[in-house]
């Protein structure tokens, strides 16, 4: 009391004395925060930029227009009637014939080989599919756009420099002259690369597509999500809300934290031992992949969910318990909705991690060349990151842009997947 009057001017003066300094440090703090955010976003943009700038060209593909004479000479006379013969006919011959007719100057084995290299080996399959669909084509002549070979594609997109000495590029001078002629005749063009989205893997870059891996990823992640989210949330709820805090729950808690630090490949070993060898789930199947990734994602979801449950104020639990709700009702109706945003964060991050993971899949046979698009969780499949990993390791130059394009597809999947969760999270988010 007697101290107060003398203190009075002192107090606010003291406040004012340090105010400037505090404001500086406040500003600094905020700036650091902003800077951190910008840093994170910058990293993201750099990565996005480098991926997109490398990969956007892969969405186009060079095509060459050929005049194909579906002659019975080459296809065989019975081709019209017998599908067996029709399917095994020499379509490659048609392509070659057309090429020769276009460039009759190509002479000798070596030159002809160079000539044939201009179009993709997929051209023949394309013609076959056309004929199989419409046998009436046989005996007719058609203008057909067929994919160019990967080197031509690279050259056409400017990834292979004309100026280089002949020995340092994969296209010979002669081939380039031919291409120039095609260009002049407007028989070569860039078109949208549909095959990239509709076909499975291939060793020919111009035929390789992402569909198989995409389907594999979707199947695998569906399994992962359907298992890891409910199980993760259930575990967190049990540990946080129901289990009495004793050594046993400590043990479980430490275990879960520890599982988060287990290298992912070890989960692959586990999956191999348990799911494939013991439970005889087929190798390379999205089911196994999903199970392994579930085990890997669980700790993330559990830890995030527990943190979210912890942050729900006890007064809300008390309120519900106070009106006679059972613990289960309290959790289901009041705590879970409030903890859901945090749980979803865990799921978003965990699923993102699962979507990008390769190492554990190595052990369970999903790092593989699989052409057929999987249609169930038992079919052999790869996933997007594996496809990216395999393409990144392929010698063909044309795979570089396709690798980046595949990454773009993966990121698109990731963003699509997250959008839903993010919206849900936003809906449930509230401060109290």
């Amino acid at each position: 009391m007697n101290k107060l009057p003398s203190d009075k001017p002192v107090a606010i003066d003291l406040v004012n004395a340090s105010l400037a300094k505090r404001h500086t440090s406040e500003k600094l703090f905020q700036r650091i925060g902003l800077l951190s955010l910008l840093m994170g976003l910058t990293f993201l943009f750099i990565i996005f930029f480098s991926i997109i700038s490398k990969g956007y060209t892969a969405f186009q593909q060079t095509f060459i227009q050929l005049e194909i004479d579906f002659t019975t000479q080459l296809l065989g006379t019975e081709a019209t009637s017998d599908p067996e013969i029709r399917s095994s006919a020499d379509y490659g011959g048609l392509v070659k014939k057309s090429m020769r007719e276009m460039f009759p100057e190509a002479d000798g084995r070596q030159e002809k080989r160079l000539l044939y290299e201009l179009v993709s080996s997929g051209a023949a399959y394309q013609l076959r599919d056309m004929v199989m669909d419409d046998p009436a084509l046989i005996g007719q002549t058609r203008q057909v756009w067929v994919p160019a070979g990967d080197d031509v594609d690279m050259f056409n997109k400017g990834h292979m420099k004309r100026e280089l000495p002949e020995a340092q590029r994969r296209l010979r001078d002669m081939q380039i002259t031919w291409l120039d002629r095609l260009q002049a005749e407007e028989k070569i063009a860039l078109k949208f690369n549909t095959a990239f989205f509709t076909s499975g893997d291939s060793r020919e870059p111009e035929l390789a597509g992402i569909r198989g891996a995409l389907m594999g990823s979707l199947l695998t992640l569906t399994v992962t999500l359907m298992l890891s989210f409910p199980v993760g949330v259930a575990t967190a709820v049990y540990l946080e809300e129901f289990a009495s805090k004793n050594r046993w729950t400590d043990f479980i808690e430490v275990n879960i934290n520890n599982l988060a630090a287990v290298p992912s490949i070890v989960f692959g070993l586990l999956g191999l031992a348990v799911f494939i060898n013991f439970m005889s789930v087929p190798r390379s199947a999205p089911l196994v992949g999903g199970l392994v990734l579930t085990l890997m994602t669980l700790p993330t979801i559990i830890i995030a969910s527990r943190a979210a449950l912890k942050s729900v104020p006890p007064s809300i639990r008390e309120a519900a318990l106070g009106v006679g709700a059972s613990k289960m009702q309290t959790v289901l109706f009041h705590v879970l909705p409030l903890a859901l945003p945090g749980m979803l964060t865990g799921t978003i991050i965990g699923m993102a991690q699962a979507l990008g993971e390769t190492a554990p899949l190595l052990m369970i046979g999903m790092v593989a060349f699989i052409v057929d698009v999987p249609s169930s969780v038992f079919d052999p499949a790869t996933v997007l990151p594996v496809q990216i990993f395999l393409w990144a390791d392929s010698p063909e130059r044309a795979f570089v842009e396709r690798t980046s394009a595949a990454i773009m597809v993966l990121l698109a999947v990731l963003i699509a997947m997250n959008t839903l969760a993010v919206m849900l999270r936003k809906k449930f988010e509230r401060r109290w």
Binding site: S315, A319, G322
Partner: protein, 301 residues
């Protein structure tokens, strides 16, 4: 003698209380001749009643090793309003929370002793607390509305207990609870707004409405009117008087006027000890214990 008391005596609640008193038929122990000295910590006064609703026997509450409620023995009668008074921090809330096992949710809290209700010791771990809490409702000291709409705040209890046959029925319960708590006129056109957006006093009444919406047989109220203006307080006090026709009510309050106005019996706590219990009128006019007298005359502390 008491600086707050005599003026309120004989107010509009008096008639009701008289009726009630006749019908609860308590055996009143003979009043001790001399006042009990300050040092004495054994409970004096009318601890037991005939046919009690809840019988507490030797209840202790510990927080870690803090002994917050010390060996309290007290009956809560039927159709009775028991007020608990005492200086801040003396263990009123702690004791109150024992009666519907809310202390379970505090990690470091341990409750011993017997609390018998309907021939069951509700302080046993094996007891199913859900029906217990449905019968023993509670209004907490700090208003704690759910971060949901006002309607949902009230509807939650009836819904989980299946008290409403259908939607209209539920609506009716919600409306009547809000009306009883005197909140209806203020929130009638904003039932879908979050309960957390209400003012302090409104939140408190919301919590009261929420508690009575489930028709509990015993209602525990921890300072239910602390944030209420006199008029709202009167509404709640009236409500209590109505409810006690069928139910038992335990109320913690700091307002001795309020205790005097509404309660039939009053319990005075001091530093964890239950010092004195007695008919409200007697306790406020002729306390048996020196500490009680000190407190009600404002000499304490």
């Amino acid at each position: 003698m008491s600086f707050v008391f005599d003026r309120q005596w004989g107010d509009h609640n008096e008639r009701r209380k008289q009726e009630r008193r006749n019908h609860t038929k308590k055996t009143v122990e003979p009043i001790a001749a001399a006042i009990v000295p300050r040092e004495e910590r054994k409970t004096v006064g009318v601890v037991f009643v005939d046919d009690p609703r809840i019988k507490c026997c030797g209840v202790n509450v510990y927080y870690d090793d803090k002994h917050a409620v010390k060996n309290v023995t007290l009956d809560i009668g039927r159709h009775e309003i028991v007020a608990m008074i005492g200086p801040s921090g003396c263990g009123k809330s702690s004791f109150l929370r024992c009666l519907n096992r809310m202390n379970d949710s505090i990690d470091n809290c341990r409750v011993t002793g017997q609390i018998v209700m309907d021939e069951q010791n509700i302080n046993e771990t094996s007891i199913d607390v859900v029906p217990l809490r449905a019968r023993v409702g509670m209004v907490f000291q700090k208003p704690n509305p759910f971060p949901k709409s006002i309607y949902e705040n009230i509807a939650f209890g009836p819904r989980i207990h299946g008290l409403a046959k259908d939607k209209t029925d539920l609506q009716e319960i919600v409306v009547s609870s809000l009306q009883k708590a005197g909140l209806w006129s203020e929130v009638r056109d904003r039932l879908d707004q979050p309960g957390t957006n209400l003012s302090g006093g409104q939140q408190q009444r919301l919590c009261i409405a929420r508690a009575i919406a489930i028709n509990p047989e015993v209602i525990l109220m921890d300072e239910p009117c602390s944030a209420l203006d006199p008029i709202a307080t009167a509404v709640i006090e009236n409500l209590m008087n109505e409810l006690c026709a069928d139910y038992s009510i335990v109320i913690v309050t700091h307002s001795m006027q309020q205790a005097a106005r509404v309660s039939h019996r009053t319990a005075y706590f001091h530093l964890g000890d239950l010092i004195e219990v007695g008919k409200t009128e007697q306790l406020f006019t002729r306390p048996l214990h020196q500490l009680t007298e000190d407190y009600i005359t404002g000499r304490f502390g």
